[in-house]
Symmetry: D2
Subunit: 315 residues, 4 copies
């Protein structure tokens, strides 16, 4: 037997595999931007191809090689560039190097630094989010390749529960009535105080398909996620900032379901130019402060379905 290609031999058990590849692979990536500082990322990659029943193995080393080559190339050649374009390039190279493959797939996620200011004192405060990209390619019998790509982000914010706040408001109203305050006075009082509720870290995620010829900005996605929770969180808050953040979040209480719906609405508004069958995923996880477990809400659909529901229901 010729060792140089055990992988190319026939396997004993002739069954095809859906996805074969490497996971948990980290590489430094520099993204060039027009008239802006380069972005340096350290993403974790997952790359896969399918494997026909007639072939034993996939030449595993070619997959990290593809990443290495693409990552090196963008340092030198490309002009402007996003992580989703990087992903498409990797998919195309996966087909090139794994000539038997009819499907190729990549997912990458990376910490991402955002420069921000605390809301009142305007102190500099670096914030860390996560950006995510996927690309998935299919090769037809004529060797034509169709690739879909998605880009998205995961951001931490604060969520305050509307239900507990409502119950505490009712308790307050009952107490105030008992102490002899009039309805008119009570209304004034409720306007003057911030009623408590449980609040917690929430994690919002949005992934959007980027059809060929269209652009979807990661910074817009990050803004959507931040604006869809009760409030933003900051690594650096002086006292007046802290009071501001807490008050703002309590004036904007949201269930985990509300956060998901807010993200949907904003995605439909901001990306109104995207075609109907663009795929959208929206997810919110709240690390409940009153439980050990988490609350979860998700929507996974096309932008057409989202537009239709929003239109129908608001009429």
């Amino acid at each position: 037997m010729q060792c140089n290609d055990v992988q190319a031999t026939e396997p004993d058990i002739k069954v095809s595999l859906t996805r074969v590849g490497v996971t948990n692979l980290k590489k430094l990536v520099k993204l060039k931007r027009k008239n802006k500082r380069d972005i340096v990322l350290l993403p974790t990659f997952e790359v896969f191809v399918d494997l026909p029943s007639s072939q034993k193995g996939i030449h595993m080393s070619r997959s990290p090689e593809v990443i290495e080559e693409v990552v090196e190339n963008i340092l030198l050649e490309k002009e402007i560039y996003g992580v989703e374009d990087l992903s498409v390039e990797i998919v195309m190279k996966l087909f090139e190097k794994h000539e038997y493959a009819t499907r190729a797939e990549i997912m990458l996620y990376s910490d991402y630094m955002m420069e921000e200011k605390s809301p009142v004192t305007q102190k500099d405060s670096q914030e860390i989010g996560k950006i995510i990209a996927r690309a998935y390619g299919v090769k037809d019998e004529n060797g034509k390749i169709a690739v879909k790509k998605m880009v998205g982000a995961e951001v931490v914010g604060i969520t305050a529960c509307p239900c507990a706040q409502n119950m505490l408001k009712e308790n307050a109203v009952a107490n105030l009535k008992e102490k002899g305050f009039s309805s008119e006075e009570i209304e004034k009082i409720l306007d003057s105080v911030t009623i408590a509720t449980h609040n917690q870290r929430g994690i919002g995620t949005v992934m959007i398909e980027v059809p060929n010829g269209y652009a979807v900005g990661i910074s817009k996605i990050i803004k959507i996620i931040k604006n869809s929770m009760s409030g933003e969180v900051y690594e650096l808050l002086k006292r007046s900032d802290e009071a501001f953040v807490v008050e703002a979040a309590h004036k904007n209480p949201k269930f985990v379901e509300d956060c998901a719906r807010e993200m949907i609405k904003r995605v439909v508004d901001v990306f109104d130019y995207l075609p109907e069958d663009t795929q959208v995923l929206v997810r919110q996880v709240n690390k409940e402060s009153i439980h050990r477990h988490d609350a979860f809400a998700e929507r996974n659909s096309t932008i057409r379905e989202l537009r239709d529901e929003l239109k129908t229901l608001t009429n």
Copy 2:
């Protein structure tokens, strides 16, 4: 407004949600077995229902309540019982408590203790695997509920790479020839020594749908996974056990792809009584000892497709 049911009010943004629920919830579960010791598990649960566009929230607390009630009941009422049956019961109760839901879903995974013996010295050695169950229910317009359930396991074993072993064998043959050994002698030598390769922890996963009226034993699944890698691992190995494990694994080298295919073949053989459209997922991840990253192989299909491929190709 009536606080008692903020969740039942109409949301501002009228969009339905795919999955709303709780994740990361741990509960102690006792499973009764006929003529055997009870099994005590501490699973982590994820439970979800869908939410129509007309309703603000899902009454989140009903989901942990469902789990609590079902988990309590099995202590008292049921006779024999598997984690997939537990999952179906939870799905049915989710529909009961979330009357607006048209889909309900649960996933649970738990450490699972197996009593074993080391291979040579026959020392007692507790081994820990993971068992997994899922159930997914859909309610049609007439209120009829159809539930699908899956059961599976995740087990650690050892995998040894056939390609590196082959190259090292070729190097050995070249060296032996140079030292004057004949082809016949070399054959004898290769029969007498165990040639090195890289080997590592592998993690095999199998999930199988359990159609109504059928049974799929978790211990059979665990055995399939263990037998599909190069060898089993043990928490307690005396010296002669260790030599046995290492030699056995090196006589049975397997790519990550081979492990996946072995699992497929054994699933098809062992569960030959399952109907054609039974869903099967098979996954292998190897924590490569020569890389920082992992190797991955997966097949996701119906048992019909697997049977067809195996039949066609072995003819």
Copy 3:
């Protein structure tokens, strides 16, 4: 060379090692209790011995063997028993099996189920905490072994920030004054409403040395931790329970430092019978809802120091 004991040979580099052993080892443990149900745990173990410069290796397999044997024995022989006693027994057996060792050490931690009731509706609610045990033995030149043991727990609760609440109270007072309410009225109002603040999951940890001849109950430790935060959390809360938990936590706001100090005070009160040089560790981590980072407070000292500080300062 005699293979049977490579480990007993002299190493090339003759340097002693502080700790050699196994980590990340899980075993099922059953603890018998007088007149009560057995407790079933699935702890993760770390066990270590030191290694003299004259010996190459520690016979690694003897360490899981020790755990296996001790864990099996308690099923059969012992009467009453805690995880710290289990730990001491493992340390003694480590010395027996690693005759060259002058130090032996074990740490174990395990999920732990607690049966509870939600605060208002009194619904059953299983809660999961973590219990921890350590034992550390030293053998002197005459072969006499002295062992120290510790036991403790890690429990999740809710913490509400007093500083933000105070600022929001001041804002409320200013608003109310502006709207013409008198100081007397404002006092009544503040008595009637629950002012907001940020609140979050807190994780409290207490570890206490158990001197020979003394007992330290884990359930007492768990109670101390729960009582030292702003409030308890529950896996199951109906609406009235939720309002209760949120109000109670907001009436009892605590900094991360306050939680640590509360735990210290309660440990000193509850365990007033423990001797002066008993070691105590107290730690609180709050997963801040207004930040991505966590707040942390810790005290590590003898009970004597804690008593002295509390005495001196309250005089």
Copy 4:
């Protein structure tokens, strides 16, 4: 009460705390290097100060503020700079901002990219390690501050077990004798073949104190760790590289204890200029391919003790 400083008030329970601060805080850091590219890191920080019994809280926000300021400053002012110097600067600023503190402490760890070549084909292969820095300051009664700093790294490699290899060699010798090979022939055969053993990912860690006026290079530490295991791992290995890595590791089998001792010896050799009381920590964890658990070895001591042991014992 004056809200602006709840933290500065006296606490109800007057007990001092050992460590109060923030954990899990990520910040982007750029390190300038003379005549070299800047290094961009995204470390996770932990910073602590102690808190006297007379003060309620530590003004938590000042700790992230310190990090933010120091991290910003190094972009502008400093010439050459290591993570341990960054750590000292943060400790000094912690004292400045927390004027009541008598102890201040920081720990940071960060992924770290290394450019490498695969061993045979010389392909570019980015490798990721982890770098770690600590600084710990104490302020005496006269306000004089003494700071200790440490720097180190954590690197993944491959380890091959000498004991299992030895047993398989003995089995091979027995088999070869049975087949009629002479002792002389057997010696030649053993020279020509690579005998198998179990091998796995190992994780080596070295932390070294950096006394004032001394320098300890991180790249030297990384090299020490890599050279102390059976071999290096690579993200990209073509076939001939893979054979090389496997053969090299099998020619250099090492117990977890051996790896720790190799690191000690190399630290003593490479850093022969460091003063006697320099603190050294060395740790090796092997993710055993034949077990689910890990093997562990550690030495924690001064460089004097290490030198003494090495000198005494080699004489």
